[in-house]
């Protein structure tokens, strides 16, 4: 108790210096909590935007279809799979989808495109394609033999609304599949790759044209909470209805997205490490000063029988008190700030309108979690402990008689 009391009171011998040090620690901690929450929140936004434009959070496919998409690798009974997904807690909605590569021709030009068969009712609950229509309308079950096409593709094929698009491909049984469809709508997702090469048609039309016999290539699902994807995936995989099928999550479906998040995280971590180094120098300065100016006192304490390692312990206690107070202050303020912006959101300024056009929220919402709340401050705590340890380790090298001569 005496050592704790001594360490605590020593902090307040230089109130201003201690408060400044604690504020530096607190501010760094606040920044880390907020920035990490912002970064993780923005990833959620990115992931959400991406999965709702194309892949969904989860897909059920035939084994091997993801690695080598082939017409014959199908989910034979999509209804059963959709029922299983719908009764799984946490799943928001699901839809069935077919897709294959075909030649699409206008009057003047021909392009290779990805054609997707979708159910407009369930698809619009899962993905945002319906909100991306820039000209015309989205698909409707009441209007068969129509397609929607990407804006860049429409430009390249020199085709417009109401005009005919000839589709030529291979059916599931290997026979030729050919038809003529009318362009009902033109969409723009903002992703050139998608806008340049995607055509959507009704799932019923696709089924008929390619002889799918009720089978689909994927059942796509979205979930309520991104953090629950793994858990839901595991639950779904246990369901007998999915026996023999593959369940893939968004990370497997969009490895590029996962990699870009990892790269962003690494650059963020570099920034945080720089911030922590700056704080570490501030702490080191404080403790070097403390050790230098109290050298005489340490000499006296050793003279009265305090062992050198006990003095090191006292110095480390002082460091931990200051760090602890600073971290607590930073974590509380950081959490409050994050929670405020988690509700209000942070406007992305000029980019907001552009993002909104593609169905992405123009506001970013930081997300506070145990990881964002504790990981930064714990790292600061560890670094400051070792930073204070360096000057403290000078003490055992002191000779009491020499130390007592220090001014």
């Amino acid at each position: 108790m005496g050592d704790l009391k001594l360490a605590w009171r020593n902090i307040w011998r230089h109130t201003r210096r201690s408060i400044l040090t604690m504020m530096a620690i607190g501010f760094a901690s606040l920044l880390l909590v907020f920035m990490l929450s912002f970064q993780f929140g923005s990833y959620e936004g990115m992931i959400d935007a991406s999965v709702r434009l194309s892949t969904g959070h989860l897909q059920v496919q035939a084994q091997g279809y993801h690695d080598k998409p082939e017409m014959r690798k199908v989910v034979k009974n999509p209804r059963k799979v959709m029922d299983a997904l719908s009764r799984t807690p946490g799943v928001e909605a699901c839809t069935a989808r077919c897709q294959t590569f075909v030649l699409a021709s206008s009057e003047d030009r021909t392009r290779g495109v990805m054609i997707m068969g979708v159910d407009p009712e369930t698809e619009s609950r899962v993905l945002k394609t319906s909100s991306l229509i820039r000209q015309g309308e989205y698909l409707s079950s009441d209007d068969p033999n129509t397609v929607i096409i990407g804006a860049l593709l429409a430009e390249r094929l020199k085709i417009g609304l109401g005009e005919e698009l000839t589709i030529l491909g291979q059916a599931r049984d290997g026979s030729i599949a050919a038809t003529v469809m009318t362009v009902r709508g033109i969409f723009k997702s903002g992703i050139d790759e998608v806008d340049r090469s995607t055509v959507q048609m009704l799932l019923t039309d696709f089924d008929q044209l390619f002889g799918m016999d009720g089978a689909v290539h994927a059942v796509v699902a979205v979930v309520h909470k991104l953090t629950e994807v793994g858990e839901i995936k595991n639950t779904v995989m246990q369901d007998d209805a999915l026996k023999g099928l593959a369940v893939l999550d968004w990370m497997e479906l969009s490895p590029g997205l996962k990699q870009s998040i990892q790269m962003d995280l690494v650059s963020g971590i570099i920034m945080y490490v720089i911030l922590i180094i700056v704080v570490a120098f501030s702490i080191m300065n404080t403790f070097l000063m403390a050790v230098f100016e109290r050298t005489r006192e340490f000499g006296v304490m050793m003279a009265i029988g305090v062992k050198p390692l006990r003095l090191v312990k006292i110095i480390l206690m002082e460091s931990m008190f200051m760090t602890g107070l600073g971290l607590l202050f930073g974590m509380i303020l950081g959490a409050l700030l994050t929670q405020y912006f988690a509700g209000a959101g942070i406007s992305m300024g000029g980019a907001a309108d552009l993002m909104a056009q593609y169905g992405i929220s123009g506001r970013m919402y930081p997300r506070l979690s145990l990881i964002t709340l504790f990981s930064g401050p714990i790292l600061i705590g560890v670094v400051t402990f070792f930073t204070a340890l360096l000057p403290a380790l000078r003490i055992p090298r002191l000779k009491p008689a020499n130390a007592m001569k220090a001014v």
Partner: protein
């Protein structure tokens, strides 16, 4: 067994490139319960000898033992342990822990010895009463006069029941009345508890109070008189 035994002890300091011999083959034996003053001008080696006897510094030659314990093979931790259990220090400039109260300064030594809270509080107050600081338990060093601080330092030195007290010019910063009073207190402790005292001083009052006067000059003992 002698309380202190120093045999052919030498200490050399470097001042820049110049070697300064602070102690030159000094030998001193002090029996338990003695009240000894080391007298001599500044630079005669008094403080250096006290520091070596207290294990605060290492000699460059010779041997030192306290209560039969030879310092030669002791680590800094062992020496700290020895000081805690057997040696008390009183310094010229008091050297109390500034953030502790008078009582806490005295109590801290007992805590280092592992004494229980209630017992150490009782002992600390009793010791402060003994040195005439009744009712000043909660004052911090900055709130005490020089004489009072030195009394706290004496209480701190005595509370752990040491067999030896080393006092480096304990009256140097005190007025004559306070110095005399402090000296009386230390003499009482010497008689009451049989504690061995070794002072360094050039204060004639302390020299007169000492039962044995060891005179030093230029790092050597030039006279050793028992009164």
């Amino acid at each position: 067994m002698n309380a202190v035994s120093a045999s052919n002890v030498s200490k050399i300091y470097m001042q820049g490139d110049v070697k300064v011999t602070a102690l030159n083959k000094v030998s001193l034996e002090v029996a338990p319960g003695e009240f000894v003053a080391l007298a001599g001008p500044s630079g005669s080696g008094k403080t250096t000898l006290l520091n070596l006897i207290g294990g605060l510094d290492e000699p460059d030659g010779g041997k030192i033992s306290v209560n039969g314990k030879d310092f030669a093979n002791m680590s800094s931790g062992d020496l700290a342990e020895l000081r805690l259990s057997q040696i008390g220090f009183v310094f010229q400039s008091y050297n109390l822990i500034p953030v502790f109260t008078a009582e806490e300064n005295v109590e801290y030594i007992l805590q280092l010895q592992g004494e229980g809270k209630a017992e150490r509080k009782k002992k600390a107050r009793a010791m402060l009463d003994d040195v005439g600081l009744e009712g000043k338990y909660d004052r911090k060093p900055a709130q005490l006069s020089g004489g009072q601080q030195q009394r706290v330092a004496v209480a701190r030195a005595l509370v752990s029941n040491p067999t030896l007290i080393l006092a480096d010019e304990p009256t140097a910063n005190l007025d004559s009345v306070t110095g005399e009073s402090l000296l009386r207190t230390m003499r009482e402790m010497n008689q009451k508890h049989g504690v061995t005292f070794i002072f360094s001083t050039h204060d004639s009052m302390v020299m007169n109070a000492a039962k044995r006067l060891v005179s030093m000059k230029d790092g050597a003992i030039v006279d050793d008189k028992v009164k």
